[in-house]
Structure formats: C-alpha cells, structure tokens
C-alpha cells in the first residue's frame, strides 16, 4: 500500500504519541485495533499493521541514535526516497514530534536503563537535641535526612539517616570530591 494513503497531520501525531507511550514511557495497552479505529478508520487492519510497524521502527531508530536535528533531517530524507518509505508530509510530522518530545523520551530511556534505585526525593530537618547527663546540658544538633529511593516502575523506599555536625562535614567533603570528578569528566573532550 502506498505510503501516501496514510495521511500525516493529526492522526500520525496521535499515532506517534501512542507509540512513544508504549515504547519509551512504559504505558502499553493501547491496542493496534484501537489505534486504527480511532486514527485511521478507513484503513484495513492488514494494511495498518505494516504501517504501524514502520512508524515504530523509525521512532525507535531516531531515539536509539539520539539524533540531533541534522541527523534527523538526513535520516528522514533518506526514508522519503526509499521504496516503501514515507511521504514528505509524514516526515514533517515525525520531525516535529521528535523535536518536541526528544527530551522526555531520552529521560525515559535513561530511567529504563538504570537498574539500581534512583533518588526520587530528599527532605531534611535539623534538630537541636538537648540531653542532660548528670547535671550538664549538652547541646548536640542533629540533621535528620530522609531519602526517597525507588527502582524504575516500583514503589518508593524511604531511608532515614541521622547526622551530627561532624558527619555532615565529612559527607560534604566527600561530595566535593565527587563534584571535582564530574568537573574533570565534563571538561574532557568527548
């Protein structure tokens, strides 16, 4: 079936959105039949299937290579030129879609590839803890930090830590070493 029989515009944009939800953002469950009946009702199911597969393949390729705009234009142009490829109309819709969703899709890909817990949140409080031992009052401030951790697609786990001032400063020193490493890494040419 000629690519031109599938219009670009809103239906294609809707299709790309649904594909992105399923492929990158982890929200499957939109069936092929639902997509076809909603977006391309005049197209037969057996013709819709290869079209959907083609669009999915193109979107995956673009995301996998994390294409910048030059690469994107070159890639899409090549797709319009090949047999059974896409129309320039469709290319324009895909291009616009990638430009506006690239960051979000990339973030999802990053989250999916992280198999450890991620840091979802951090809250803290400093308490002035007063203890009296014998007859002396000892003033010992304490920082209480709650880390919210969680693996991709799983519920959060909360970890509560207590630090005195000495400990806080130790951690701070360690964190400055981390930052130094990051600076060194970023300043190196790729």
């Amino acid at each position: 079936m000629a690519a031109g029989e599938f219009e670009g515009g809103k239906p294609l944009n809707g299709l790309l959105n649904a594909l992105a939800q399923e492929t990158f953002h982890g929200h499957p469950g939109i069936t092929e039949e639902l997509l076809r009946s909603q977006l391309y009702p005049e197209v037969l199911p057996e013709e819709f299937r290869p079209f959907l597969a083609k669009m999915r393949g193109i979107l995956k390729s673009i995301a996998s290579a994390d294409m910048d705009f030059n690469q994107l234009e070159a890639y899409l142009t090549a797709q319009t030129k090949k047999q059974g490829g896409i129309t320039s109309d469709q290319a324009a819709v895909i291009s616009k879609f990638w430009k506006s969703h690239k960051t979000k899709i990339r973030e999802s890909l990053m989250n999916q590839s992280r198999w450890n817990s991620g840091l979802r949140g951090l809250s803290w409080r400093v308490d002035g803890k007063s203890q009296s031992r014998h007859s002396a009052q000892i003033h010992m401030p304490v920082a209480i930090i709650e880390l919210e951790l969680g693996k991709y697609g799983q519920e959060s786990e909360f970890l509560c830590l207590e630090f005195d001032e000495v400990k806080v400063n130790q951690i701070l020193k360690t964190l400055s070493e981390v930052e130094e490493s990051i600076t060194t890494l970023i300043s190196q040419p790729n």
Partner: protein, 85 residues
Amino acid sequence: MEATSEPLLDAKSEVTNQLVDFQWKLGMAVSSDTCRSLKYPYVAVMLKVADHSGQVKTKCFEMTIPQFQNFYRQFKEIAAVIETV
C-alpha cells in the same frame, strides 16, 4: 534529670539509621539494548547504614548529574543550618 529529645521527623520509614560508610563512583552509561546512544554520566552511591540494633545494611542508588548537584546543594544548606543551631 531525664534525657529529653525533640520528636523525630515524621519520617515514613520510622527508623533512623547512622551512616557508617559512603562510597561513590562516577559512571558513564554509553549504550544499551534499547538505546545505542545513551551517553549520560551518573553518580552511583553505596551507603552502609546501621540501625539502632547495630545491624548494618547496604543501600545503593544512582543520581543523574543534576540530581547530584541538588543533593550536594542540600547538604551545604544542612551544614549551614547545623552550624547555627
């Protein structure tokens, strides 16, 4: 006289731990089966924490660079506050 302490943060975990060790590494995710061009640096942290009974557990997590910078900034704030208390 009795020891008194402020009530703890209404923490969801309800148990506070002491940090025994903090290990870190800076990694670079290059490529994966779903994305050939990942190219993002991350900070991986391994904490050893001890609860009231002295039992030590290991907790690992990762941060993107912006998340790490926020983490670092918050610790600086904590240090500034704890100094003045």
